[in-house]
């Protein structure tokens, strides 16, 4: 049982490490309104869908943490347009045209199945996050990245793959916001 002593000693230490405070984020000097659209493009159908709730919740949390006031746009206001217009700039412009907020944040996602790997189902989630002032949607800032996702069960399909990418998406949205708000502060 002596061998278990190091484990027992490390338990309280590691518990404390788990509570290490996160580094600060860049907050907007004044609360800005943000219209948020988060879309998922299914592989097997043309119609664009909203992302799973866990993803949109994470995006809203990233915005609120930076003194922004997000509003999730009703899917009926963008689903048809997003289905027919498949470029990021068109979509940002479409949301900006219908928004009374200060900023628009558009997140586009789609998931692609790869293969069975080590007992998991390997997916790649492609994400494009775009942030633009409503008044000048042509000044859009875009961040594109891929998130590797490994799902345990076959019944977990595209929506679950996008959902599993939620923590990374939230972090990358936060990073884009920090860059943008940091730039605003510098001005």
């Amino acid at each position: 049982m002596a061998a278990s002593l190091p484990v027992l000693l490390l338990v309280p230490l590691l518990s404390q490490l788990g509570c290490v405070p996160k580094t600060g984020v860049v907050s907007a000097e004044r609360s800005l309104d943000v219209t948020v659209v988060a879309a998922r493009e299914p592989m097997d159908q043309a119609r664009v869908e909203p992302v799973p709730t866990a993803v949109s919740d994470g995006i809203l949390a990233a915005l609120k943490a930076r003194n922004l006031h997000p509003t999730l746009a009703d899917p009926s206001t963008w689903q048809d347009a997003f289905t027919h217009g498949r470029t990021t700039r068109f979509r940002v412009a479409h949301v900006a045209v219908g928004s009374q907020a200060d900023l628009v944040l558009v997140t586009e996602t789609w998931a692609r199945y790869g293969s069975q790997l080590g007992g998991r189902y390997q997916w790649t989630v492609q994400v494009t996050v775009s942030l633009a002032p409503v008044a000048h949607p042509e000044q859009v800032e875009t961040s594109s990245f891929e998130v590797p996702v490994f799902l345990q069960y076959y019944h977990q399909q595209e929506a679950e793959a996008v959902e599993a990418a939620a923590p990374v998406i939230e972090r990358r949205v936060g990073s884009l916001l920090d860059q943008y708000l940091g730039g605003l502060e510098a001005q």
């Binding site: 299914p42 043309a46 498949r86 700039r89 045209v97 007992g119 490994f150």
Partner: protein
């Protein structure tokens, strides 16, 4: 909205496509250090029947995919991609192989093409490995087909149905350097009638035809008894019964060989605390062996053994239940595995082809924070040899072979036909990506304890002999402790 739209026209015309995809590299990594002060090789027990945790060694996989023509969402355009997988069970400084490349292999290579000729159909040419799912606690895939096959397949996938049909050659996987074509064909059907329920059946048949003259085709050497073959005394007995006629030792008689596998799957979940339950089963009639060699009187004789090895079967069933006992705080995973292997030709010697085993494993994981978890796992396993003693309970068990009687000609080994193993494991897990029993990467500090009725029931370098002139004494121990610092990641 219309008022602003003309102003945005230049912007829209300058738009770039929303998505672009190229090459992906993914993989799997498992590396650990488990200094073993009891003379072991760092693994708590012999194999993952006792749960994969602390019983598996290092492993690395690199999976590459190149999209030659990328798949686009919402379209039915043809797409194609190239896949290759390198994997092996050795990593520098982590095991005796020290990560040398001869421990790795290009285990999978194939090209996929989708939406060509038929909608929702993916064509695949190359290796065809396919399984319904995985028992995570055991790292085992009972319902797996085409593991041995290179060929072509077509997979239709829709919201409620997945159908796979394939065919090819399993000769290189089964026979290696003694290659002979083993034709194989089969398929799998998976249904999802309602959300939270999946059913699957599948199978694979193999046929190795008679090819007279091909030295690696199936043959039988006539009039060979199983016991003579097992002892390596086929030629000796022939010489005894046919004095001075060794030149007339029977030649091989051509024949054919067949084997096959059937698999089934039931998955359900998404209600109450049940995340998901996977139940897998498979029954395989194993492919017979080709030949072995005996040396007698300074000359090598090849014994063809198709008929001596064509009655082997393996039944395997496993279940894994994943529960969220206290959401976000405590998860539980329960697993069970049952195996029954029979050899209709062998009733005299214990082998891995004639045994029955079962085990149960339970793992709980508690979440102190998103990233700091506590893990505890316990398992109990029972392994039974159908053909007599197969394990040593004591260091001096060489005196109790063959049902307790010393027998220098005995085919049994050790002093028991049943091995019973209990393991307990506990420790701390750091999980940067959050909560979940199977969330990876995880960095783990674990302590494991094993009790087995077998003496030194783990990989070790202890002497087995009781020779009075041996430089080292035998050691008797049934408890085994391991402390492990390890990490595991899919990437």
């Amino acid at each position: 909205m219309r008022r602003r739209l003309p102003l945005l026209l230049p912007l829209l015309l300058a738009s770039a496509p929303a998505f672009a995809v190229g090459a992906d590299a993914g993989g799997y990594l498992r590396v650990m250090t488990r200094p073993d002060f009891q003379g072991g090789d760092g693994r708590l027990g012999y194999w993952n029947l006792y749960g994969r945790l602390l019983n598996e060694g290092p492993y690395a996989t690199l999976d590459l995919r190149l999209d030659l023509l990328e798949q686009q969402p919402g379209t039915r355009e043809p797409w194609t991609s190239v896949h290759m997988r390198l994997e092996g069970g050795s990593i520098g400084n982590a095991d005796s192989g020290n990560g040398t490349l001869d421990h790795f292999r290009l285990s999978q290579a194939y090209v996929q093409a989708g939406d060509v000729l038929l909608r929702n159909v993916t064509w695949q040419v190359g290796t065809l490995d396919y399984y319904f799912g995985d028992l995570g606690l055991y790292d085992t895939r009972p319902a797996e087909i085409f593991y041995d096959t290179v060929g072509a397949s077509a997979r239709y996938d829709s919201r409620h149905l997945e159908l796979l049909l394939g065919a090819g050659d399993a000769g290189y996987q089964i026979k290696g350097s003694m290659y002979d074509a083993v034709l194989t064909a089969g398929g799998a059907l998976r249904l999802r009638p309602v959300k939270g329920l999946e059913l699957g059946v599948g199978g694979q048949a193999r046929y190795e035809p008679e090819v007279p003259g091909n030295v690696y085709a199936p043959y039988d050497t006539p009039d060979v008894s199983y016991e003579d073959w097992l002892r390596g005394e086929v030629v000796l007995h022939y010489d005894q019964t046919h004095p001075t006629q060794l030149l007339d030792f029977p030649g091989p008689v051509p024949t054919h060989a067949a084997s096959g596998k059937a698999v089934a799957y039931l998955g359900l979940g998404g209600f109450g605390p049940v995340v998901w339950n996977n139940l897998f089963a498979s029954y395989e009639h194993l492919h017979p062996q080709g030949s072995t060699t005996e040396s007698y009187g300074g000359q090598d004789y090849t014994i063809y053994v198709k008929s001596l090895t064509d009655q082997r079967s393996a039944l395997l069933a496993g279940d894994e239940l994943q529960l969220k006992l206290v959401p976000g705080r405590l998860d539980l995973v329960l697993g069970g595995l049952y195996g029954d292997q029979r050899d209709g030709d062998n009733h005299i010697a214990p082998t891995d082809y004639a045994r029955r085993y079962w085990s149960v494993v339970g793992r709980v994981q508690a979440y102190a924070t998103d990233t700091v978890h506590f893990l505890a796992e316990s398992s109990y396993a029972n392994e039974h040899s159908r053909n007599g003693n197969a394990w040593r309970e004591h260091a001096d068990s060489v005196f109790a072979t063959s049902d307790g009687v010393p027998d220098t000609r005995g085919l049994q080994y050790g002093d028991t036909d049943t091995r019973r193993t209990w393991q307990g494991k506990a420790g701390v897990v750091l999980s940067p990506l959050g909560r979940g029993v199977y969330t990876r990467p995880s960095l783990r500090l674990l302590y494991g304890l094993q009790y087995s009725n077998q003496n030194n029931a783990f990989g070790n370098s202890f002497v087995q002999t009781l020779d009075q002139y041996a430089a080292f004494d035998t050691v008797e121990q049934h408890w085994h402790h391991v402390v492990a610092l390890e990490t595991e990641a899919w990437f």
